[in-house]
């Protein structure tokens, strides 16, 4: 059970605050997924390992600067990471955090 790697306070409310750390994390990840463009990007990245901003820009109906903004937010949420490669930047999922988001959200949805 991979769940054992994430501690859940949700059942015991084992913290002073009524809203737990995990609930805040869930909200944070959900916020990152709260835009169609970002859902599209995450879905693409979890299917094919990596992609370039240009690939996305070709298909998505938003300005490059807008796309860049969304990528920045996914990066700030910890869900993706970008590696500079020549004139381009290669974006990949941040597997570790993606896994945490999976576990937290799936658990949250399964209660």
């Amino acid at each position: 059970m991979s769940y054992t790697f994430v501690r859940y306070f949700t059942n015991r409310m084992a913290e002073t605050e009524t809203i737990t750390r995990n609930q805040k994390k869930i909200a944070r990840y959900a916020r990152a997924m709260a835009h169609p463009v970002r859902v599209y990007v995450l879905e693409l990245l979890s299917r094919q390992n990596c992609c370039y901003s240009g690939d996305l820009s070709e298909h998505l109906p938003v300005a490059k600067s807008t796309l860049s903004q969304h990528l920045k937010e996914l990066k700030e949420a910890g869900l993706i990471q970008g590696e500079i490669e020549a004139p381009r930047i290669r974006y990949c999922l941040n597997r570790e955090n993606w896994k945490e988001a999976q576990e937290l959200l799936k658990h949250f949805l399964s209660i």
Copy 2:
């Protein structure tokens, strides 16, 4: 497999628009879950069937009007519903839409 009740365009991109209907739905549900208070409420409701606004208000560190606003957003997202009962209002999950959210998000997270 309950998945058969939700059609996924995510693999085939079977629509004219690059962003699919389901990706928009996922973003919409994620947005509803994008605040700690709303995560708390959803988690409580999926654990115990129903609750009253007052119960929540007692525990959460927000003004009643703020809580009411969050409940309204969950209602607008289709995730909860409120039934008038005496002077109070009893909030429950909207099981049908909650199930859709579960299926869409879990599938999205499992790709």
